[in-house]
């Protein structure tokens, strides 16, 4: 759906707002570019001059030190000037609108905005109103999308599994509220993963989710059977008890990833989590820290993938 806004008339990426609507070649280009930056990040001097003289503004209307830091590191390794703005605490509290904030920052000659907002579509609104040549990266908008997370997840899968065309991938837990799950699903489907499953109780699955091209499972064991990749999702604490779920304990019993449940998956299945983890809720420590977990490499690859996105948007990759 975001195709026209994200891609220029020549098909080049001008904003990264969602993995939905991006052609497979664009996704592969990002992953291939990230490959090169993984090696940069392994060097002693982890810096390249691709974004020298450019300014990147991290504009976070919703607080997240972790995600913001990964964008900051990625931009700095590309030699960009980075400005971090935690707007949640300042302008909007004074009644300034999202667009006013962005226009003010644009007047300070920003080249790239990394936007996180609690409302779905906020980065699209920004993208529609910035000057030509200014790029917007969605760092998470409501339940809608978190495309760099989705991309780093498919990067990690490609790193370990090489070929997407025979994989069975399961996404487990709170799909309803998860922008990560949506970004993963679109990226996986576009890259040719034949079977993507979502596993969870009916209260945590969004309406008509099967129309996104996934198979729906409510039973964890059945859903995990034969999977090559198991992606768990964070369950926000405010959702652990209420009308959607009775308790974190009951959720863990049915859908928490334990060694026993993981045994249903392929013996060489990898386990992923976008972080931060609730150990003992959606994932047990023995799995999170176990031999099949690739959760720490996800974090490492996340820097390279974000560098790739920034470099491509800046026209330097």
């Amino acid at each position: 759906m975001s195709r026209s806004l994200q891609l220029g008339p020549d098909g080049r990426l001008v904003h990264l707002l969602s993995t939905e609507g991006l052609p497979a070649e664009t996704l592969r280009h990002i992953l291939d570019t990230a490959d090169q930056f993984v090696s940069v990040n392994e060097r002693e001097v982890k810096k390249v001059p691709l974004l020298r003289g450019r300014s990147l503004f991290n504009v976070f209307f919703e607080n997240s030190t972790r995600t913001r830091t990964t964008f900051e590191i990625a931009a700095k390794r590309l030699s960009a000037d980075v400005v971090n703005l935690n707007i949640g605490a300042s302008s909007t509290a004074k009644g300034e609108s999202l667009l006013d904030t962005v226009w003010n920052l644009q007047a300070m000659d920003a080249d790239m905005f990394v936007v996180r907002h609690k409302e779905a579509g906020a980065p699209h609104l920004v993208a529609r109103h910035v000057k030509p040549g200014v790029h917007v990266i969605n760092a998470g908008d409501g339940r809608h999308a978190h495309p760099t997370q989705g991309l780093l997840d498919v990067y990690t899968i490609r790193h370990y599994k090489k070929d997407f065309s025979r994989l069975v991938v399961a996404i487990v837990g709170d799909i309803l509220h998860s922008r990560v799950a949506r970004s993963q699903i679109h990226a996986l489907k576009t890259l040719g993963v034949p079977e993507v499953r979502v596993i969870g109780p009916r209260t945590l699955l969004p309406a008509d989710v099967e129309r996104l091209g996934v198979r729906v499972f409510h039973d964890m064991a059945a859903g995990l059977r034969g999977c090559d990749v198991v992606m768990t999702l964070r369950l926000q604490s405010e959702r652990m008890s209420g009308p959607l779920l009775p308790s974190a304990g009951e959720f863990n019993k049915a859908y928490g990833l334990t060694p026993e449940k993981l045994a249903q998956a392929s013996p060489d299945a990898i386990v992923m989590h976008p972080g931060p983890m609730n150990r003992g809720v959606e994932i047990d420590s023995s799995v999170a820290d176990g031999g099949q977990s690739v959760i720490m490499p996800q974090v490492t690859f996340g820097i390279a993938v974000r560098m790739a996105v920034m470099a491509i948007l800046a026209g330097n990759a």
């Binding site: 759906m1 975001s2 026209s4 806004l5 939905e20 609108s97 999202l98 667009l99 907002h117 409302e119 779905a120 579509g121 906020a122 699209h124 609104l125 908008d141 409501g142 339940r143 809608h144 999308a145 922008r179 949506r182 969004p206 309406a207 008509d208 989710v209 129309r211 996104l212």
Partner: protein
């Protein structure tokens, strides 16, 4: 204006009588004095040559927000009354969601007086059902009715307490007042902003499920059954809602209903990339719902179509979808969009135009929506072929917020008459 006018050459379409033929209309002293045949001794002071045009009753719109008092930065009574007549609308009901709400007679009298002095469209105020639309204490319905209110509603401030709803219906039915209710359960809507389905799932928008409408509607219909209150169900949005209304009418309940014109043409897919102009209440629903609404209107289960006109300023729309104020400008789009529905449904012009003239007039119980000798000469002369592009230059309304912005529509009011006086000429 002096009294006598002849309108010649127009194809006169009167949905109430089914009349559809080229007929001269003779107007004297603001009323229709003759059709086809001039009254004895009639000498026109002026003649309108309306060859090639359709003359139909001025449109009757069941929901148009005029934004006065309280929201003059969005629109003024004058700007929106001009938009009404530019759209061929000569009678309109306005919901009570002004600031302050229309919950006391003084406000209603003031509104009526201001509207009368503008001498554009006629205004039929809908009074607040509860004080301040707060949903707790009944407004003075008797006083408000005396001041000119033709019905009572909560506008979009939904009544969440069935006890209050029941008592309001019992009280209103004591005096035969008509109560207009939006069928949406606010707890089930749960702060949602888009129809629960594939589109909201893809866009990550918080959903309003279909049951928010059907549960509310079943509650309303059950209470109508008990109290016998006259209820008008405002803005159906789902196929199941249409089915429930069909059953209720078959059962003989004293209920009527309408649909907003946007819901006849758009569905949740039209939200596109978070277009805030497609943020409406009720939400645009599935394409199957849209098709059921179109059929429901054609078969008469749905009594009328309204513009649900809601001018919203740019500041309230240039925000993320979920924060955008719901609503679209509609007064000037009602006519072309209804004509489009009629063409697509294969209806004859009288049947099409009935949905915006005689049928809504019956709900208001107003002497409007008909072309007949003795009736006020409230007329719309429309060019059914005129193509025009919706833009801020072509809209008279102060609200430019419409999902049809930039699109071409066909059909436009060329002249609008109220009481025999030309109040709009394109």
């Amino acid at each position: 204006m002096s009294g006598r006018l002849t309108i010649e050459g127009a194809r006169v379409v009167d949905p109430a009588s089914g009349h559809d033929a080229v007929t001269a209309i003779y107007v004297a002293d603001g009323a229709i004095a003759g059709l086809g045949k001039a009254p004895d001794g009639f000498r026109a002071d002026a003649v309108i040559d309306a060859k090639g045009l359709v003359a139909c009753p001025g449109l009757v719109d069941l929901a148009a927000r005029l934004r006065e008092p309280g929201f003059e930065y969005r629109a003024t009574l004058e700007s929106e009354m001009r938009a009404a007549v530019a759209g061929g609308v000569t009678s309109l009901a306005c919901p009570p969601d002004t600031e302050p709400p229309l919950d006391e007679p003084g406000l209603v009298e003031m509104l009526k007086r201001r509207a009368t002095s503008l001498a554009l469209a006629r205004v039929y105020p809908i009074g607040a059902l509860t004080l301040g639309l707060g949903g707790e204490r009944l407004a003075e319905m008797g006083e408000l009715a005396e001041a000119g209110c033709v019905g009572f509603s909560q506008a979009d401030a939904l009544l969440s307490d069935p006890h209050v709803l029941r008592q309001a219906l019992r009280y209103a039915s004591t005096f035969g007042f008509s109560v207009w209710l939006r069928p949406q359960d606010s707890t089930l809507a749960h702060g949602g902003v888009a129809h629960e389905g594939e589109v909201a799932t893809r866009l990550g928008l918080s959903p309003i499920p279909e049951v928010a409408e059907t549960v509310a509607l079943k509650t309303i219909l059950t209470l109508v059954e008990e109290t016998g209150a006259r209820v008008h169900v405002a803005r159906l949005s789902t196929a199941r809602g249409v089915a429930l209304m069909r059953d209720a009418k078959a059962q003989g309940l004293p209920v009527t209903c309408d649909v907003g014109v946007h819901h006849l043409h758009l569905c949740d897919r039209d939200v596109g990339d978070f277009d805030p102009n497609a943020r409406l209440t009720p939400p645009l629903r599935d394409v199957r719902d849209r098709d059921a609404l179109r059929r429901g209107l054609a078969e008469g289960t749905i009594d009328a179509v309204c513009s649900d006109h809601a001018p919203v300023d740019d500041d309230a729309k240039q925000v993320p979808f979920g924060e955008a104020e719901p609503g679209a400008t509609g007064l000037e789009l009602l006519l072309p969009l209804v004509l489009q529905w009629g063409r697509e449904a294969g209806l004859a012009l009288p049947a099409t135009l009935g949905a915006v003239t005689s049928r809504p007039a019956a709900i208001l119980d107003a002497p409007a929506g008909r072309i007949a000798v003795g009736m006020a000469a409230d007329l719309c002369l429309l060019d059914p072929q005129a193509a025009w592009v919706v833009s801020s230059a072509t809209l008279a309304s102060q609200g430019r917020n419409t999902p049809f912005l930039g699109l071409e529509l066909v059909g436009r009011a060329v002249r609008t008459l109220v009481n025999g006086r030309v109040v709009h000429a394109a």
